[in-house]
């Protein structure tokens, strides 16, 4: 008889060419990739060519209209708005990406464990998810902000911990179908451990579901970061992000300073749209349902 060690992890061949071809046919998804690449270049490479000082305030040059000197004007403490858009975009995208991936990781482990265990363990684990979903993330985030002011790393962890619920449901559903497959039954019959079954077999086979969930999760996380910063509990000055740049939004509306609102707002919309479009495209090309 073969020993457990010789049972190779069975991974569906992802049939990349076909998947990729399907993805490339989705014009909206391809546009999404272009937008994301643009913003990555804009925020990380842009500052190399467009030098601005984003830490020292310049009170002699506040609220300037866009001009040749300041392409998008300056904000209420004299920071160059275009430079700030680059600088803030880094935080928005990095925090969003990290939080989205963390949420997917937690959700994947939780959902796979629940679906794999089945029975009352599954039922209880999913009721915990229901309870988490019943409390809107924004409310939890505001309570936490009343307790403490998080660092950037803390913010990532907090955001990840409040938004893993939806991926956990998706991965659980996927696990339920995978669990009954022959190879998992074989592994179990050969005395394979539960952890091994989940980590080596269930999760690799659910990878397309997880990738799609992660893409949507990043989109949602970037939105959530914007909300959190807009409500004044995001990264602390002199750091900022796109949501934080909008906190002064209404004052800017009343004083007609559109250049302080439109750029960060549109940047958020564009990037979140892009990630959602990529997620849609991936889902269609992997041919899976959900969301």
């Amino acid at each position: 008889m073969t020993s457990l060690e010789t049972v190779p992890p069975v991974v569906k061949a992802p049939a990349l060419p076909l998947t990729l071809r399907r993805f490339l046919r989705n014009r909206l998804a391809v546009a999404g990739v272009v937008v994301v690449v643009f913003f990555v270049l804009f925020t990380f490479v842009g500052p190399l060519f467009y030098h601005t000082d984003q830490t020292v305030t310049d009170l002699l040059h506040i609220n300037l209209k866009p001009s040749g000197h300041h392409l998008l004007g300056t904000d209420a403490v004299g920071h160059d708005e275009l430079g700030r858009l680059m600088y803030g975009g880094r935080i928005s995208m990095l925090v969003g990406l990290a939080a989205g991936l963390l949420a997917t990781l937690i959700g994947t482990l939780w959902g796979a464990a629940a679906g794999y265990m089945g029975g009352w363990v599954d039922a209880l684990m999913m009721r915990v998810v229901d309870a988490g979903i019943a409390i809107p993330a924004l409310f939890i985030l505001l309570v936490i902000s009343a307790i403490t002011t998080p660092t950037t790393l803390g913010l990532i962890i907090i955001l990840g911990c409040v938004s893993w619920l939806v991926p956990s449901r998706l991965v659980r559903a996927e696990t339920l179908t995978l669990r009954s497959r022959d190879y998992v039954a074989t592994l179990r019959a050969l005395g394979g451990g539960h952890t091994r079954a989940i980590v080596r077999h269930i999760i690799p086979n659910a990878v397309s579901t997880i990738v799609v969930a992660a893409t949507f999760q990043v989109a949602d996380a970037i939105l959530l970061v914007a909300y959190v910063s807009y409500l004044g509990l995001g990264v602390q000055p002199p750091q900022t992000d796109w949501g934080g740049m909008l906190t002064a939004g209404l004052d800017a509306v009343y004083s007609n300073r559109w250049w302080l609102i439109a750029p960060p707002g549109l940047a958020i919309v564009l990037v979140v749209c892009a990630f959602n479009a990529i997620g849609d495209g991936l889902r269609d090309s992997f041919d899976i349902r959900g969301r």
């Binding site: 909206l28 039922a123 209880l124 009721r127 915990v128 229901d130 309870a131 988490g132 979903i133 019943a134 409390i135 809107p136 993330a137 924004l138 409310f139 939890i140 505001l142 309570v143 936490i144 902000s145 009343a146 307790i147 403490t148 989109a219 939105l223 914007a226 909300y227 807009y230 409500l231 949501g243 909008l246 939004g249 209404l250 509306v253 009343y254 007609n256 559109w258 609102i261 707002g265 958020i268 919309v269 979140v272 749209c273 959602n276 479009a277 849609d280």
Partner: protein
């Protein structure tokens, strides 16, 4: 499984969920730095004062005992007293909740009244320009933060074109708020946008599913007009998943109302919560969280029951 058994099981699940919610809220209460004593006595309190307070309030007892007392208090509808507003939390919430329900109700109704026909239209005109246009629009609206959309609404329809006030009507009673309907226009539209985007997608998908069903083919073969098929058969069948989603969507709607109320200064529960967060008024914060979570659980339950009523085919054995 008979329907009654299903309902009982579903109800039991809801109770368990509410139980977990109370644990989360209790956990948050004890995550406060220095515990609730710091919150009430302020940062200047001496260790002796804190110890005294903790003893008086039973906060030095074992956690399970405290949790039990907390649960008993909740069952009596006692959510504690606000630190700053000198009023019981349940009274405050009861004052504000109806206003929030009116606002979110109007927004959701507006969103659904638009989403259902738009989604159906997209499904019928699948892969035509109309479909693409609305797909793109819903993607944009879904990806727009509520506060940014609200700011744009105020900039355009209050500043550029002086059509509507930028502030919601204030007032203690629901009547006072409703007496100035023009102030409600922008908050309602603002709250409706994201919901509209999400539900037009669902409606499109549900209609597409139904259009591929045998009964549609049979009706067409029998010469029933396309419009009649859509309105008499497909519409009703497509609404089932929409109703189910609505239940799960309650927390998102409440989350949106927090931002809308803060932005337009609408005197509902979201604004109460927002102000409580500014002043670290923990009893109010946790009371609101609890009420919203319970409202969500009830909403999901009602949605599941409604689904049964609308569509007898819904399999009750599903978990």
């Amino acid at each position: 499984m008979p329907v009654a058994l299903y309902l009982i099981r579903r109800l039991a699940q809801s109770v368990i969920v509410v139980f977990f919610v109370t644990i989360i809220v209790f956990g948050l209460l004890h995550a406060l730095p220095g515990g609730p004593a710091r919150g009430i006595l302020g940062v200047q309190a001496t260790p002796q004062q804190i110890a005294h307070f903790n003893h008086q309030q039973g906060l030095d007892r074992p956690l399970p005992v405290q949790y039990w007392k907390f649960l008993i208090r909740l069952l009596h509808g006692n959510l504690g007293t606000s630190y700053t507003l000198n009023e019981s939390v349940s009274t405050l919430i009861l004052q504000r909740l109806p206003k929030t329900l009116v606002l979110t109700g109007c927004s959701t109704l507006l969103a659904l009244l638009l989403a259902v026909p738009i989604g159906m239209w997209q499904a019928v005109r699948r892969n035509r320009p109309v479909d693409y246009t609305f797909t793109l629009l819903s993607l944009v609206f879904y990806s727009t933060p509520v506060f940014f959309f609200g700011i744009v609404l105020i900039a355009v329809f209050s500043q550029e074109l002086p059509w509507f006030p930028s502030e919601a009507p204030s007032g203690d009673t629901l009547g006072q708020v409703l007496s100035q309907p023009s102030g409600l226009v922008l908050p309602i539209i603002c709250g409706a946008a994201a919901t509209l985007a999400v539900f037009s997608r669902y409606m499109r998908a549900a209609t597409l599913d139904n259009l591929g069903e045998d009964y549609v083919r049979t009706a067409r073969a029998g010469g029933t007009s396309e419009l009649r098929i859509l309105l008499r058969h497909v519409l009703r069948n497509s609404l089932t998943p929409i109703v189910a989603m609505l239940g799960y969507y309650v927390p998102v709607i409440f989350g949106g109302s927090l931002v809308v109320e803060q932005l337009f200064n609408y005197p509902g529960m979201g604004l109460l919560f927002w102000n409580a967060a500014q002043s670290s008024d923990y009893p109010v914060l946790l009371g609101c969280v609890l009420v919203i979570a319970i409202a969500t659980v009830i909403g999901t339950f009602i949605a599941d029951v409604l689904q049964l009523v609308i569509d007898p085919r819904v399999k009750v054995g599903r978990s």
